[in-house]
Symmetry: C2
Subunit: 443 residues, 2 copies
């Protein structure tokens, strides 16, 4: 198919009147400064599809249902108890239905690839399914159903805390040993479409020992390797008690952290840890909306960006699913804390700095090609609609999308398929119905 | 007309199967536990329409266009320069067109009344229009055009800083003396529909002296009186340099602050100031999205709520227009700062605490009846749609709306007029066109 964009963000910058020919899931030809031809789909401002580097799709099912306070103080840890209760009852069918809904909403938000950090492997009683990859299979099926590209990140989870402490009852669906995990990765490789990737995710320093993490990194070289780290102050304190080092310092000292690593959250960092992550070329996986929702704390974005740190955005708990909103929440957390404006920009556009920085970093973390509108690149495209018709061909487009009121995602092409039209995924109705049924049975 | 709600929030709590008869702009009859009748409009969860206690409608016109950083540090004060440039070119026609767009979007967001803090009175050269109330007239016309109820708050602006300092060139369209201002209030009274109110807004301690503020309060007793206060640290420091007191302490000591007063922002407060505002029964006008965008700082919500403080929400700069989003941003600012969850709730629902608290406080600040679904009340109603069909009849509805992904505003009735249907204002298309034309001429 062909589309004609009033403005588009090309590798060399914004251009007007850009005609794109899509074929075989890729962009075949890009021509700027040319009028539309009959049959072209007419679009507003077209940008590359964005990567969502951290999702727990099933958590979409209880979006907005953990915002009540019990008799005591509320925290990440009380939230986690509620999340476990939901997780323990999830069937494979519900997993697929809810993941498909989350992926529909991600595509509608402008995400064309998701990194699914997947830890719900086993039956509710903790035993393996007949097919041990049953639950991963459901994630691949949801990706196929919706058209989103998938970087599947099966989680290795062995322990309940530093030490290591034994895992708790609520964690029984997550647990594996190295051999069982290796078989899972192999099974996932067999399910991957051409555009998909399979990485690995030792859950955290709480759930995997340093020996296990380094063994996994050696066993699966070159794959995306993600782990949660330094999200909560409690975790930093537990790590200090365990080894007299903070989590990120401990990891950088002992693990072969490099560009294929993604440190999810990394909220609580010293200046030396900031510099250390940047020097290794690893990506920090920021999930600003979830981090606000869970009361994690404020990421030191200014020093991290000044050090040349790489970052991407994830929707994590999927309490909301919005690419623009993640960028906005990160910048707003900085503004509230530092009482100044445009803190994530050196100079120029804050929206562009955040969206394009996260596009590059997210793709790196997910083992995917850098998002770009160029011949030969995957045809992952997002068209923004501007009812005000300001017809801008510069970074104000991204500022207005991230911070403003006007621009919305009108169309999305995922591997060349026109899956979002007029803001709605083409399979939305059926997928919402199935997810609603699954959620009503769980809540 | 009649509508039937699957669930509705009545004064005594959530009820199922609620039938509402609307007549003459009011709710005529409320019947719970009754099936729908032929011809009833079928709605999901119905809540009272919400008050938006602080808007500068024209600022909607440059939403998202101030998110770039120049060579130096960026702050509220650099933003204000950009805002002044936009303000200086605004025609009366553009004022009406952009205000109408903002009010359409407010109704679509669930706001059925707006407090318009209106300071753009004069011609671009600072001289009066032939009708000195020309610009206020445009605000009333925009409210009429869209159906939103208006509490008009003409601004008294005399000075450029504490001392007082003379006003600057960029402020020439705002300035008035007490006599001119009194004539403006009188003219506004003549334009008000039955549901409208006219209050007054001495802009801030920077723009009006304490003598002027108290003179205005005495000249117009009983009307809503709004002023900006303690938004920026610089303002607190300037006030300390001027009178050796912080702004709120200075105001509480010398002005007859009471329940009809609304202190906009009041971001930077000592514990004594928190208690002082609460004791006077005044409302704090929180604008969490704008306060994040402008880098104002984090409001001390926990101690203020613990002291029994009253609050409402305003969309202020209208960089975004969302009732749910203002509540969410306030709670998230607290969570990020305090690293805990559900901080604005004592116990129970955070969404309900914020939405219903802001509904009561906002109505008080705007001189309007308390929002409620009861016979005799204004027929200002918001119907939320839940594609997941969870069919809840409790405060989870408000949690899900504020924090979650599912609930959206489907229908809004403003004084009994069904102005928002399927999420869109009935006059949206024409109003967007007019506003777009006005903005294209200004940007």
């Amino acid at each position: 198919m062909t589309l004609h964009a009033r403005t588009a963000l090309l590798p060399e910058g914004w251009a007007r009147d850009v005609r794109l020919v899509l074929a075989g899931g890729r962009i075949e030809r890009v021509t700027a400064g040319t009028p539309p031809q009959p049959g072209d789909h007419r679009a507003g401002s077209v940008i590359p599809g964005l990567p969502n580097l951290h999702s727990h799709a099933f958590q979409r099912g209880f979006s907005g249902l953990t915002e009540q306070r019990g008799p005591g103080p509320d925290s990440f840890w009380t939230w986690r108890e509620m999340m476990y209760r939901f997780a323990l009852n999830l069937t494979p069918e519900a997993m697929q239905a809810i993941a498909a809904l989350a992926y529909v909403e991600m595509l509608e938000a402008g995400f064309t690839r998701v990194g699914e950090f997947h830890y719900l492997h086993h039956r509710p009683d903790g035993s393996r399914y007949d097919d041990p990859a049953e639950m991963s299979c459901r994630i691949f099926a949801a990706a196929e159903e919706t058209g989103i590209s998938l970087t599947h990140l099966p989680v290795f989870y062995a322990h309940g805390g530093f030490g290591p402490k034994p895992a708790g009852e609520g964690q029984r669906r997550f647990l594996d040993d190295i051999d069982g995990f290796a078989r899972l990765v192999e099974a996932c490789d067999g399910m991957a479409r051409g555009q998909d990737r399979v990485g690995l995710a030792p859950h955290s320093l709480r759930a995997a020992t340093m020996e296990q993490i380094t063994a996994l990194a050696q066993a699966f070289p070159g794959r995306p390797l993600h782990l949660h780290i330094a999200e909560q102050v409690q975790e930093v304190e537990d790590c200090l008690a365990f080894c007299d080092q903070r989590p990120v310092a401990y990891l950088l000292d002992r693990a072969p952290v490099g560009p294929e690593w993604c440190l999810i959250h990394a909220t609580h960092l010293t200046p030396a840890e900031v510099q250390g992550i940047a020097d290794r070329g690893a990506v920090v996986g920021l999930c600003p909306i979830t981090e606000a929702n869970l009361g994690d704390g404020i990421f030191p974005a200014e020093p991290f960006l000044a050090a040349g740190g790489r970052f991407g955005f994830g929707t994590d708990s999927n309490v909301q699913i919005t690419a623009a909103g993640e960028a906005r929440m990160l910048e707003y957390s900085q503004r509230l804390h530092r009482r100044a404006r445009n803190l994530c920009a050196d100079t120029g556009s804050t929206g562009a700095r955040l969206v394009l920085g996260a596009a590059r970093g997210g793709a790196q973390a997910l083992g995917a090609p850098a998002p770009q509108i160029a011949a030969g690149a995957p045809a992952d495209l997002v068209a923004l609609h501007d009812p005000m018709g300001l017809d801008m061909a510069d970074d104000h487009v991204l500022d207005r999308w991230v911070f403003g009121r006007d621009l919305t995602v009108a169309d999305v092409w995922a591997m060349g398929r026109h899956v979002v039209r007029d803001g709605r995924h083409i399979a939305r109705d059926g997928i919402v119905q199935a997810a609603a049924k699954a959620c009503r049975a769980l809540i």
